[in-house]
Each structure stands twice: as structure tokens, then as C-alpha cells.
Symmetry: none
Subunit: 227 residues, 4 copies
DNA sequence: TATGAATGAGGATTCATTCAT
DNA sequence: AATGAATGAATCCTCATTCAT
């Protein structure tokens, strides 16, 4: 409907490229709108009609980009999940001490929880996904869990974290973090970064061997002995 | 099921009483079944037919006890909420120090979160309630928030709690607690009481002025070194 | 249901009689309440529960007096119909001229239309009755029609009425009368009797041979030549 | 669906136009079917399934054209009402004497009553409409009433009508007319036009100052002095 | 790619009616 | 005679999804 009459001197790939890009942009727009609506009203109350309306398109048009409503739901969840996993990978690559790693995880995860796609991780209902997608979801959740638990275990091993029940500790920390997805409203007193920094120290205070004073903003600089 | 064969000296009210009791028992049975199903499948996927089936009655029979599906949802929520508020009132009446009060709140709330009606407090979607019921729900949530914040404030005032950001502290604690409603499965390694006791000390460790001895479930034992 | 343990000194008939009377009174009360409600809300919108509520009894109690909702509807209609037929018979027995008979019919029918049971004759929907009852209803309507047409025919024959299309004349008169059942509200400016008298002359004015001066209130005194 | 192969000189709007037209035609088809069914069985007994069946579509398809069953009911009523009001406006514009105006109203209204949409005006139950629609309905009925009353009043004023009780006269006339909606069956001996003409003279005979001899068919030719 | 129209599946709700007490 | 509880049948309506254009 657009790039008709492509100027002959341009590579024939460009229109294709730009077309793909346009398509991806529209896909994303749908997801952004949908995740917003799902969070506002819940997955079931939100209708595809409403999603389409907000985008000034019609309902069937959505099916050019997604196979089903559930597909949209799952992709929203996936985006959040990928963001988390990317950060986890980055942090793992930093190869810091257990405590510092944990603090970095907390900070990163807190920030994500304050975003729409992040909140979708904890506010969507797994039961609304198809069986295969449920599995993927649960696997993802487990990976996050594992990242936190591993950091704690490592911390205990490297002496940066006091011995403690790893599972419960991880649950407590993740619970506090996930809750952000429920109470955080953009435009409040605290920015996501402030919350993230506060939680990074707060949630690790009781298990840090050396009273982990506010870990630095951008980087956990505290020279806790590297593993 | 009841006082059939009424001895002649019994009050003529008994049949009435027993009928009322039977009715209340049935109401409760419906709520127990419904809350279970709602937690398993989510409010929208769960159908009244399924609720009725599990109770070996027919769908319209439910309407003898509840006005609508939403009514059932709200009553489930109400039961959980009342349990919490009852405990809050009891704890407030105990008139302990801020820290101890907070620890008692944590312990009580954690235990409730590990029950079905408790979990419904955090796993149901407020958007699924009618406007007036939404208001009631939010008011209830606020009262819980306030109870925790007040305990923290009081603790700061009476010196049992370190100065801290009251709001964020409460959010962190409540988040860890609410998360129990998502991960706790009956029959796991830890009993609700164990979780409750663990969290009571864990979640207050970093803000307790004097090494929060593991507040006794029966007794506070662990001499955790002061900071 | 029966005369168990009849008090020995009283006639065994009296309790039975009075019981039957009580029963009949209740039946009538149900009908009065029902017809009222049916007229207010329409047969389908009116529920038996509401009928029962207004009588301070419960819904199943109604089934002691009637076999079904439709039964109630039909009996309401029957009462109205009987009232009409009784008057028709009386008037026929008076053996007056065609015109006078017609005027008497109009007056009588108008008054009935201004009553609840009368209005039910024209405001209930025949389609809501069972097949046999529909037949009875239609037969009744036909008898009324016939009474009016006969009076007109007779009037033409005896010279008290101008020659005219009998069928259309009857339709016009009955239409005006039936409409009363729709617009008459008790407590208005005009009493049923006033309306009845007015219509008696109004609706016959154009077909009366001799200008039918207001026929007298109690009796159609106008000495139209007797047949 | 049609105008494929658009001749280049045709407006590009045609496909749109034709689609809109198709839509309107379908809407109308639904209304025609529905009004028929509602008249046959009554609004409540008639189900949307049956309406859809008669149209060879499925029930939910109806919701492309109407918001609810009641919406359909109301639109049926509206069509009838508009037909009446259009004729009223035309007749008012003719600016004839009161008597002639009245006769024109009677003739027009009688003809409409013999149509399905006209009959729906008097055979549907106002109580089946939503509150706002009830108001609209009643307002419409009042406008019709007023048209008739005004004609009578004007007739009295201009001397073409004998002094009389305006309200009762209008009731009598409208009653006779409305009754047509109940008894008229297409295919009977009399055509709607015949009925209309008959009633036009019949219902005004008793109040016409100069014995209104059969007012002419197309036009009230009787040289009643123009106002 | 986008749309209007249509569909199938399902779900909550209402209500007359019955039954055991 | 009356009641509370239960039922079965039905109906409206919603919505994700598909299809022809």
C-alpha cells in the first residue's frame, strides 16, 4: 500500500527492508498497546476490539501480526522476560562477587518491574497461556529464580553473604521486587532508578557479611573480594 | 446432618437454627470450592458450571446463595480480608513495641498468605469487581498497608526500629509476604508456620535496632550478633 | 385439604365451608395482585416471585391455587370475560330496541374496560396462552363482537339504527371502547361512569336514526321505538 | 459484491455507497422480519434465534446491526412512529380546516395502522423498552394525540366541528383507529385504503358541523371554508 | 494489508416449576 | 398449606476468529 513505485536506482532490498521495519514497528505498537490494556483491565476483560480501537485500526488487522490473542499475551510476556534475561546475562558476565552480583540483579530487576513489560511478568496469569507457552513461561521464571539463588549461593561460598536458607532468601527478595510491578505507578515520587537503588541495598542488608553500604549507582564498586 | 429426631424438650427454634446452619455451611462450601477454582484457573476461565459440578449441584442452585459470579469473587476476597483485619486488631490490642508489633504482623500475615482465602487477596484482579466492591477492596488494602506502616513508624518512635523510609520499607515487607500467596503450595517442605516465623525475623532483620533476636515463635532464640 | 378431626358439636360442614371460602378468597387475592402486576409490567416481565412478594407469601405457595403462571393469566382474562358476558346476557334479556341495546352494551363495556380485569381483556397477549386457552379466548372475543353486531343489525332491522356496514361499525365502536383499557387511569378527571355515559351517546350518535340525545344515565330512557 | 469492474468515469465512492446501501438493506430486512415475528408471537416469545433463522443468518450476526433485542424493538416502533409523524407534518402543511385536517389524519393513520410497522405502535408493550426509550415512546404518543386534539380544537374554532369534549373525542377516534392494528389482517375483504376512507367519514360524522358526506378519496374536497 | 461481515462457542443469568420437609 | 432448595430449559449477549473482498 505504500512504497509503491520504488525509485529505480535504489536497491530493491530497501523497500523490502523498510517494509519489514514498518511491519515490526506496527507489531511493537500493538504489543505496547495491548500490554497497557491488559494491565489496566486484565487479560480477559480487555478485548481485541479495544486494542484495535486504540490503534485506530480494526480488529482483524491485528491478525496480520499475531496469530491469536494469546499470542499477543505471550509475546508481551516474552519481551519482559527477555529484558530480564539479557540483564542477567550481562551481570553474570561481569563476574563479580556473590553479593555484588545479587545487588546488581536486584537493581536491574527492580527497574524492569517498574516498566509495563516488566510488570506483565508478574501480573499476567500463567493459566491464560496455552500449554506450551505455559511451559516456556515457567521455565523462564525458573531461570530468574536460579539466577538469584545462584548469586546467593555464590555469595555464601565466597564469603560475601552470610549463610542462610537460599530458597527462602530468594523468595523474599523476589517477592519484594515483584510487588513493585503491582504498586509502581509512573509519575510517582520515586523514579524507577531510585527504587532500584534503594531495594538493592535494602533487600541485601540483612544477608550481607560486611554491612553493604549503599552500593554505587552504576556499578557495584565495593571491592568485595572477587570470587 | 443435623438434629433430626428432635427431643420434645428442645426449642422449636432448632429446626430453624439447623436450617440456617445448613445454609451457611453450603454457602461456605461454595466459597471454598470457588476460591480453589479461581486460584487454579483464574476467575474468568473458571465457570460456575465447574464450581457447581465440583459440588454436585447445578449451576442455578448457586444463585440461592449468591447474586452473581462477581458476588462470589468478592466474598472470597472478603473472607481473606477479614482474617487479616482480625489479626491486625488482635495485634494492635497487644500493645507491644513497634518492632514486635511489626514482627507479629509479618508472622500473622505470612500464615494467612499460605491459605487459599489469603492468597485470593493478592491473586484476584481488582478490575474484575464492580465499582463499589473495588472501592471496598482498595480500602481494605490501604488498611493493611497502614497497619504495617504504623508499626514501623511506632518502632522508629519508640526506638525499636532504625529510622528508614517507612513507605518503601512497608512495600518491601508486604511484597515479600504477598509473594507467598503465589509460590506457596500446601504439602511443601516448609509449613506455613515455619515460613511465618522465618519471615518474621528475616524481613525485620535489617531495620531492627537491637539484633532482632529471632522473635520467638514461642521463643526468640538465635543470638544474632549486633550490627 | 380435608376435615380431619372435625369438632364434634359443630356441623362438619362449617369448617369445610369456611375453609373453602378462605381458599377462594386467597385465590382471588392472587388474581387481583397478578392482574395488577401483569398490567403494570407485562406478563413476561412480571415474575411469580413478585406476585408472591406482594402477597407476603412465597412463590411455591401460589401453586396451591393455580397450576401454572399461564393458568393465572387465563383466569384473569376469564374474570373479565365473564363480567362482560354477564352484562351482555342481562342486556339481551332487557329486550330493548337495537339502538338502546347497543347503547347499553357500550355503557356496560366501557365501565368494565375501566377496571383492571376488564383492561386485561385487551392488554394481555393471546399468544401467551396455551392453545386450548387461546381458543377459549378467541371464542369469547367473538361472542362480544357478535353481541355488538347483533345489536346493530337489530337496530337496522327495527329502524332505530341507520343502515351501515355492520362489521366496520362494530369495529369502530369496540375499538374506541377497548382503547379505554389502555388510557384509563383510576383517579383521573372522569369517572368510569362518566366515560361510559359519554361514550354511549358519542359512539352511537352517527348511526342513530333519531339524533340519539344523551341517553339517560341509569337507563336508556330515550323512547326509541321499541322493536 | 456488485459494481465490480468500475467504469473509470464512475465515482470511486460507489463501492462505498453500495456497501452502505447493502448494509442499510440488511438492517431493514432484520427489522421487517423482527416486527413480523414480534407481532405474531409477542416480543418475549420471539427469540433472536428465530429472527436470524428466518433471515438465514446466525444470531450474533444481528449484533452487527443492532445493539440489543430491545434496540430492534425500539427501531421497529420508531419506523412506525416516523411514518405517522411524517404524515402529520404533511397534513399540517396542507393547512385545511379543522374538520378536513382531522379527516386527513384519520385516513392517514388508519392506513398506517394496517401496516406491520404501524401495528407495532399499538401492539408493543412500552414496559419492554428501556427507560430512555420509554420516554421517547411516550413523547411520540403524546405528539400524535396532540395532532388529533389540535385538529379538533381548530375545527371547533373555525366552525367546521361541533363543540365537544376534545379529549374524549380524540380518545374515541384514536381508539377506533388503533384497534385496526389488532384486527386488520392483510388479504381480507377490505383494503387499507377502503378502511381508511370509511373511517375518515365514520369517525368524524358525529362531530362534523355540516354532515360530512364521505370525504373524497384523495383530497378532502368538501368545500369547508378554508381557515 | 486491511476491512466489514459473519460465525461458533460458550457463559452468566433468569424463572417457572417441582420436591422434600 | 407453606417453604427453602433445587432444577432444567431457555435466552441474550460477547468475543475471538475467519473469510471474501
Amino acid at each position: 500500500m505504500d512504497t509503491r513505485t520504488p525509485p529505480p536506482e535504489r536497491s530493491p532490498w530497501l523497500p523490502f527492508e523498510s517494509r519489514r521495519r514498518a511491519r515490526d514497528e506496527k507489531r511493537e505498537a500493538v504489543l505496547r498497546t495491548a500490554v497497557q490494556l491488559f494491565l489496566e483491565q486484565g487479560y480477559h476483560r480487555a478485548t481485541l476490539n479495544e486494542v484495535a480501537d486504540r490503534l485506530n485500526i480494526t480488529k482483524p488487522a491485528l491478525y496480520n501480526y499475531f496469530r491469536s490473542k494469546e499470542d499477543i499475551l505471550f509475546e508481551c510476556w516474552t519481551i519482559g522476560q527477555e529484558r530480564v534475561e539479557d540483564r542477567i546475562a550481562e551481570i553474570a558476565a561481569a563476574d563479580e562477587s556473590g553479593l555484588v552480583t545479587l545487588q546488581m540483579l536486584v537493581r536491574a530487576y527492580a527497574a524492569i518491574m517498574a516498566s509495563t513489560f516488566g510488570a506483565s511478568l508478574v501480573r499476567f496469569n500463567v493459566a491464560d497461556l496455552s500449554e506450551p507457552n505455559q511451559k516456556a513461561t515457567l521455565a523462564g521464571k525458573r531461570r530468574i529464580d536460579r539466577a538469584f539463588r545462584n548469586a546467593i549461593k555464590q555469595g555464601i561460598a565466597d564469603g560475601s553473604v552470610k549463610p542462610c536458607d537460599v530458597k527462602l532468601t530468594a523468595f523474599a527478595i523476589l517477592g519484594a521486587l515483584n510487588w513493585i510491578g503491582h504498586w509502581y505507578k509512573p509519575g510517582g515520587e520515586l523514579s524507577p532508578e531510585q527504587i532500584a537503588n534503594d531495594f538493592a541495598s535494602r533487600l541485601t542488608a540483612d544477608i550481607a557479611k560486611r554491612p553493604a553500604k549503599k552500593p554505587a549507582e552504576k556499578k557495584a564498586t565495593k571491592p568485595v573480594r572477587k570470587k
